[in-house]
Amino acid sequence: MFGRNAGVGITTLFTALIAGAGAALAQEAGLGAPFEWQMGFQDPASPFMQDVVKFHNSMLLLITVITLFVLGPMLYIVFRFNAKSNPVPSKNTHNTMLEVLWTVIPIIILVAMAIPSFKLLYKGDVVPTAAAVADLYEIDVAGEITLKATGLQWAWEYEYVDNGLFLFSSCLYGPDYWCFGGEAPEGARRLLETDNPVVVPVNTLIKVQVTAAAVIHAWAVPAFGVKIDAVPGRLSETWFVAQRIGTYYGQCSELCGMYHSYMPIQVNVVSQEDYDTWMAGQLAAMQPDRLKAPTTLFAQKGAFAQQGISPRRDPANALDIPNN
């Protein structure tokens, strides 16, 4: 009886404090992936995500206070107003001042919360031009690149619109009937690494336009604070500026069928020179007929097409995967 509220309360308080601290803890530089027993956000690598982390930290503080504000009186009640300590219950069922206060004060708190909340929302929705972003976030933005991401079942296809480069990016390490890399080597990030990652230059505005072929997917990179639904028939747009060189991962964030877990997103943020070198190499290697949209998932996943096998090892069990 004594332990109930106290136990849960103390645990909550403790964890809330750790979570708050965890959000501020520094991480390996340039790392855009989750780590074990993580309790907070991944280290922000874009200006918008930095704002998200800041706003969330204040929200976390607020909700911790509110929770304690409920837990505290309940604990007090257990000790002060149990039948032994207080054999005669009061008949008090009204207190207008109290009722006014606990209506008006929450309203004030919510309005106070709504102001930075709307600021954050509208800031993230800035019309993406390099100049506007640089101005709003007071950072240096070197240029603009438009990246189109198309969600397929179950991989991402990217188009660098300015260059005409197409990339087909799929999961590298995972179940061997779906991902290409086989047994994951030591330290490999299973279900996060891709065979053809997106490469972008640092400190550049990346305009991401997403759509999908058949079903809804979502393109997300937590370290950049980017998540947007990929809806067939729509071209949705979002943006980010990566401020640190490194490798950043995300996962498809809308249930899209059975291999929803196996279509990660990998973004390698490199220097401008490295990006230019990479782009030149990619364009040179790209087959001309790759510009035509592939008709089946198997045709896209060249290795499978060559071997003529279905995602499950035994061809006899091949499922009819719908054409995209």
């Binding site: 109930r4 509220n5 645990t11 964890t15 979570a19 992936a33 989750p34 780590f35 027993w37 956000f41 969330h56 976390l60 909700i63 929770t67 009186p73 257990v78 107003f81 039948a83 054999p87 219950p89 008949k91 069922t93 009204h94 207190n95 109290l98 209506t103 929450p106 919360m113 709504a114 909340s117 709307f118 600021k119 929302l121 509208y122 993230g124 079942q153 990030r189 299973r190 279900l191 058949a214 079903v215 809804i216 979502a218 997300a220 980017v226 998540k227 947007i228 809806v231 067939p232 028939g233 729509r234 964030s253 809308e254 249930l255 069928g257 059975m258 291999y259 929803h260 877990s261 719908p322």
Partner: protein
């Protein structure tokens, strides 16, 4: 008039055998059937979640079976959600406790439409058969309980999704008819002297709940019918290639879906009010505020649906509106939490099992509510949408907010319904076991979500393994607690102490405590006068 009614019944006597149940027009018997139905399907859906948590306990796909184990996982996710919502929480709260206690509490002899009541219950059987059948006929529906198009249209061939849709049609019809029944009963059959402002808060909660159902379920019916026609009859409501829009489905679904989540929790609020007042030996603090807070939550709940769609691309001004409207709901909800605390303040509290569940509910629902306030902010949506943070949030308000209310109601009213009381020590064990289990299961999900773990994935990057292991352990403890509950029920029925009409003392002031325990087959045959 009442004399004639009583006499007419004695003339043919109460039905016996299977007819008593299949043909029942008795609110108590129908309520009991709903409760048994809810327990059965709660175990089924709970088992599904245990199997899912066994899979998620460690990285890799090791437990899931079949040619496409990941699809099996998605089918379990879908089944778990649909069964918990439509075949556990709603039957328990509305069909079960609602049917049992609303007529008793307002002094009515039964519901307004007893035969409609019967139909509402029995239609759930084919509904459940269709849903369970959808998992074994065809490949199963791996769409999530939200059944988004185009995954549910283009993305699923075969009969499974069609069967799931038809199951929802029947369950929806069952609830719409029940809503008509409850509204008519509550508006027209209160005993003389029981004005709306004298009704117990549990009855208020039922009234608001069924209004929400009446107005939102037809929209669900429309949305899933459009899925059905897109799938089978060549329409293109949600097919972009033919001019349709997948996001239209999301608007239609969530226009139902958001009021639905208030349907799932409002009756819990009602039960908690009854329990807290009884065990504090004080009337509820601020009765009118409590009643109209529920009305406000219900009303505003209709205009916030698109906070489930912040990443769909609706436009920033639309998102801003939904942020504001969603934040508004925090105000009446806060009023309720504070009023419960103010009720206990100055009271003379004892902590029998129903009160433990109620106090647990108040604190844990607050935890779930505050993460809901965080989620309301569209600026944070890119961080939280479709992550385990959301899963943690809604399990706090559901597995704790709603489910703790169900158990509070059971322990509070089982003596009234059966004439036998539960063993207090066993009840407390059930409570504490559940308390540990659900918090272990769902609190770490907030961490996983902050770290970026998406929802509805059968396998995850290795870094998420730690908290997933803890979650799974919590799930096993919770399910053990549920099995222990079955044992508590068994002991109660077999050898529970017999109780009198009002066995909770002077704090229990509503009309159900004025009739014997167990409540006789017919009660309030002459309406009581309420002062």
């Amino acid at each position: 008039m009442t004399e004639t009614t009583a006499g007419a019944h004695e003339a043919h006597g109460a039905p016996t055998g299977w007819r008593r149940w299949l043909y029942s027009t008795n609110h108590k018997d129908i309520g009991s059937m709903y409760l048994i139905f809810a327990v059965v399907f709660g175990i089924v859906a709970g088992l599904m979640s245990v199997i899912m948590r066994m899979e998620l306990q460690t990285p890799g796909v090791d437990i899931m079976w079949g040619d496409t184990p990941e699809h099996t996982f998605n089918v379990l996710v879908t089944g778990h959600g649909l069964i918990m919502v439509f075949f556990m929480v709603m039957p328990a709260f509305i069909g079960g406790f609602g049917n049992w206690m609303v007529p008793l509490m307002i002094g009515a002899p039964d519901m307004a439409f007893p035969r409609l009541n019967n139909f509402s219950f029995w239609i759930l059987i084919p509904s459940a058969l269709l849903l369970v059948g959808s998992t074994v006929i065809g490949d199963g529906a791996g769409t999530g309980w939200t059944v988004y198009a185009p995954l549910s249209t283009i993305g699923h061939s075969g009969p499974s999704v069609d069967m799931a849709i038809l199951a929802l049609h029947l369950a929806g019809a069952s609830s719409i008819m029940a809503s008509i029944n409850f509204i008519t009963t509550i508006f027209n059959m209160r005993a003389p002297g029981m004005t709306l402002h004298k009704m117990p808060l549990f009855v208020w909660s039922q009234l608001v709940t069924v209004f929400l159902l009446l107005l939102s379920l037809p929209v669900l019916a429309g949305a899933i019918t459009m899925l059905l026609t897109d799938r089978n009859f060549g329409t293109a409501f949600f097919d972009a290639a033919q001019g349709g829009d997948p996001v239209l489905y999301q608007h239609l679904f969530w226009f139902f879906g958001h009021p639905e989540v208030y349907v799932l929790v409002l009756p819990s609020f009602g039960i908690i009010s009854q329990v807290v007042a009884t065990f504090s030996r004080k009337p509820i603090f601020g009765y009118l505020g409590m009643a109209y807070a529920m009305v406000a939550i219900g009303a505003v709940g209709f205009i916030v649906w698109a906070h489930h769609m912040y990443t769909a691309g609706m436009g920033v001004d639309t998102e801003a509106y939904f942020v504001a409207a969603t934040l508004v709901i925090a105000v009446p909800t806060g009023i309720k939490i504070f009023s419960w605390i103010a009720t206990m303040w100055g009271g003379s509290l004892t902590f029998e099992t129903p009160m433990l569940w109620a106090m647990g509910m108040i604190f844990l629902f607050t935890l779930g509510g505050v993460t809901g306030v965080v989620l309301a902010n569209s600026g944070l949506t890119t961080a939280f949408h479709d992550t385990y943070y959301v899963v943690g949030h809604f399990h706090y308000v559901m597995s704790m907010g709603a489910m703790f209310g169900i158990f509070a109601g059971f322990y509070y009213w089982v003596g009234k319904m059966t004439g036998r009381q539960y063993p207090e020590k066993l009840g407390k064990i059930h409570f504490w076991l559940t308390m540990v289990g659900v918090n272990l299961a769902f609190f770490p999900m907030h961490f996983s979500g902050l770290a970026g773990m998406p929802r509805r994935i059968a396998d995850y990057p290795d870094a998420y393994a730690g908290w997933n292991l803890v979650s799974s352990l919590g799930a096993y403890i919770s399910f053990s607690a549920a099995l222990f509950f079955l044992y508590v029920v068994y002991v109660t029925f077999k050898s529970g102490e017999k109780v009198e009409a009002s066995y909770w003392g002077e704090g229990a002031t509503t009309l159900e405590w004025s009739v014997p325990s167990p409540a006789p087959h017919h009660t309030h045959e002459a309406p009581p006068t309420v002062r």
